[in-house]
């Protein structure tokens, strides 16, 4: 009882943090206007002051404003990948599970193959071949991320397809697409919501890692990982405002998403205990 209650509290706390983060990143720039494209050499590495609450970085960008801009990209890419990857994985997994046989085997080997490719290595390679842009990153991270939901939905489909309502629908002439859309996916909705939440967190982590290594979207595009990458050079100089805020934003976002996902999963496992 107490642990379920605490799980719920943690889930609600995660949700509140996410709403606050979204407000900070998308509404913040309306109230706190900064220039995040034009570098200003007269304003480099200024310590926090009234004019710049979190100081400025090596290019003279206001750090507080840059956290907002970087957060927008993180949340946009995370959300887009979460939705696209879950949708792709759900369709793929349901089709494979429902069809079975040779097609199922072939489709799952495709999943295994992509799962064997190390995402960060492949993304770094692609970044050396083409300059990464936001739409390109969404596409490529999606192509490397839909595999876990595909496996989840397939195993759920395997148990659903023997249930009476699915057999009845198919006997009544319901085609593959209709069966998946009307009977399989609605029953897997909970699993999909959980999967999507974790996908968003993973995509944000991938983007941050890529940017930290210097293979993210090109400057002047702001990313939290990129801010950390640049701030690291000033760790010895004690310019804390160029290092800690960006790192804390990454951890807070990913932690909040994980808490919400965890809570969703628990509510699914024990429906009686939800809200």
């Amino acid at each position: 009882m107490s642990s379920a209650l605490k799980g719920r509290r943690a889930g609600v706390a995660g949700l509140i943090v996410l709403v606050a983060l979204a407000g900070f990143c998308f509404l913040g720039p309306l109230l706190y206007r900064t220039d995040q494209t034009q570098a200003n050499v007269a304003l480099t590495n200024i310590a926090p002051s009234a004019a710049h609450p979190l100081g400025t970085d090596a290019n003279g960008y206001d750090v507080l404003g840059r956290l907002m801009a970087g957060g927008q990209i993180s949340l946009e890419i995370g959300l887009a990948v979460g939705i696209l990857a879950t949708a792709l994985g759900a369709g793929w997994g349901a089709l494979a599970g429902l069809t079975g046989g040779a097609l199922d085997a072939l489709m799952m080997r495709v999943v295994d193959t992509l799962l064997a490719l190390p995402a960060i290595f492949v993304l770094i390679y692609l970044a050396t071949v083409v300059q990464p842009t936001v739409p390109l990153l969404i596409g490529v991270i999606t192509l490397l991320s839909w595999l876990a939901p595909a496996r989840l939905v397939r195993s759920q489909t395997l148990s659903l397809r023997t249930r009476e309502f699915v057999t009845a629908a198919r006997a009544a002439g319901s085609g593959q697409t209709r069966t998946i859309a009307r009977h399989i996916l609605p029953n897997a909705a909970g699993t999909l919501a959980v999967a999507a939440t974790f996908q968003i967190a993973d995509a944000i982590l991938i983007l941050a890692t890529l940017s930290f290594l210097g293979f993210g979207p090109a400057p002047p595009t702001a990313t939290w990982g990129g801010m950390l990458y640049q701030g690291t050079s000033y760790l010895l100089d004690g310019y804390w405002w160029e290092v800690y805020p960006a790192g804390l934003m990454i951890v807070a976002t990913v932690l909040a998403l994980n808490l919400v996902g965890e809570h969703l999963r628990e509510s699914l496992a024990n429906p009686a205990r939800t809200l």
Partner: protein
């Protein structure tokens, strides 16, 4: 049983073929051509066509792919013109550093995460579970480079206790020759791995605790400590075996990041340097090696699982989160 082993091995082989196909496609994504990328934009037309015919790049794509497969089958991972050495020799000379770094991080993490996961599960919902659970959840959301930076800031720059860089002596002895320099990188990897493994262990032990044989052991009056060590630990070890096999990509990716942050001359850092210099052959060769290790890891996990637990026909999907 043997049917399962055979089927699973054939699947792994099919996946390996798939991986080589993807890497072949990746190679052909290089803008312009491989010859241009290597010889430079000012290379003459003659030089380009000489390079292409010397490397079989003027053959049809199917033939090129089969050539590529044949070279891989012979252990030829390609040649780096930038480093003027074969990718295979580069990987072999640096792999010991990765083995030390990633291996130490894995072993230490298992030594901490297993007892921790069992303790958390045994005291599920209690104060210890709540506190350590919050800590591992936070660590789970922490990127390895961010943790590394925090450790450097606290223990190296703040307290002056440890160097912020690993030993630069070169070779495996160089890394081991400076044990103090290894502390922070290994600590970073250990903490990141503990977050991962303890969460899975906790989930596995909670599942084991609900089994009938555990309830029977308790019902017949066996002390809780013996229930945990004799019945629960043994059965949860199955999950751990699987986990290590499944963790290969995670281990190698955090290895790359940590090698970059602490400037450790391993395969991961070579990959990073190659990417920064557009040294495509090294990037593609290392990608093949990492994918191969990933496939072998997951194959080993499934086979070990099947061998250790005779009830298993088809292992459940352990790739998903706990």
């Amino acid at each position: 049983m043997s049917g399962f082993l055979l089927r699973r091995t054939l699947q792994a082989a099919a996946v390996l073929i798939g991986v080589t196909l993807v890497v072949f496609v990746l190679e052909h994504l290089i803008p312009g051509s491989l010859a241009r990328a290597i010889l430079g934009p000012r290379a003459s037309r003659q030089a380009i066509s000489a390079f292409n015919s010397a490397n079989g790049l003027d053959h049809p794509l199917v033939v090129q792919y089969l050539d590529f497969l044949w070279r891989l089958a012979q252990g030829n991972l390609g040649y780096s013109y930038r480093l003027n050495r074969s990718v295979g020799s580069l990987v072999i000379s640096q792999a010991p550093n990765d083995l030390i770094l990633v291996g130490l991080g894995l072993l230490l993490a298992l030594a901490i995460a297993l007892p921790l996961g069992i303790l958390q599960a045994a005291r599920r919902g209690g104060a210890i579970d709540q506190l350590t659970g919050a800590a591992t959840l936070t660590l789970y959301a922490t990127p390895s480079y961010w943790l590394a930076l925090l450790l450097i800031a606290a223990l190296s720059i703040g307290a002056h206790l440890l160097p912020p860089e690993a030993g630069q002596g070169g070779g495996p002895l160089g890394l081991l020759g400076d044990p103090l320099g290894l502390v922070l990188p290994v600590l970073t990897l250990t903490l990141i791995n503990v977050a991962w493994f303890s969460r899975y262990t906790r989930a596995a032990v909670i599942e084991t605790l609900a089994q009938e044989y555990v309830r029977l052991a308790r019902a017949k009056g066996l002390p809780e400590r013996l229930v945990l060590t004799r019945h629960v630990l043994r059965n949860s070890l199955l999950t751990v075996v699987t986990l290590v096999g499944m963790a290969v990509p995670m281990l190698l990716t955090s290895g790359l990041v940590v090698e970059y942050v602490f400037n450790i001359p391993g395969v991961g850092l070579s990959y990073y340097t190659a990417a920064a210099n557009a040294d495509y052959p090294v990037e593609l060769g290392v990608t093949v090696v990492v994918a191969l290790l990933t496939v072998l890891g997951s194959l080993a996990a499934d086979l070990a699982y099947a061998l250790l637990d005779p009830r298993i026909g088809t292992p459940s999907d352990v790739g998903s989160k706990p």
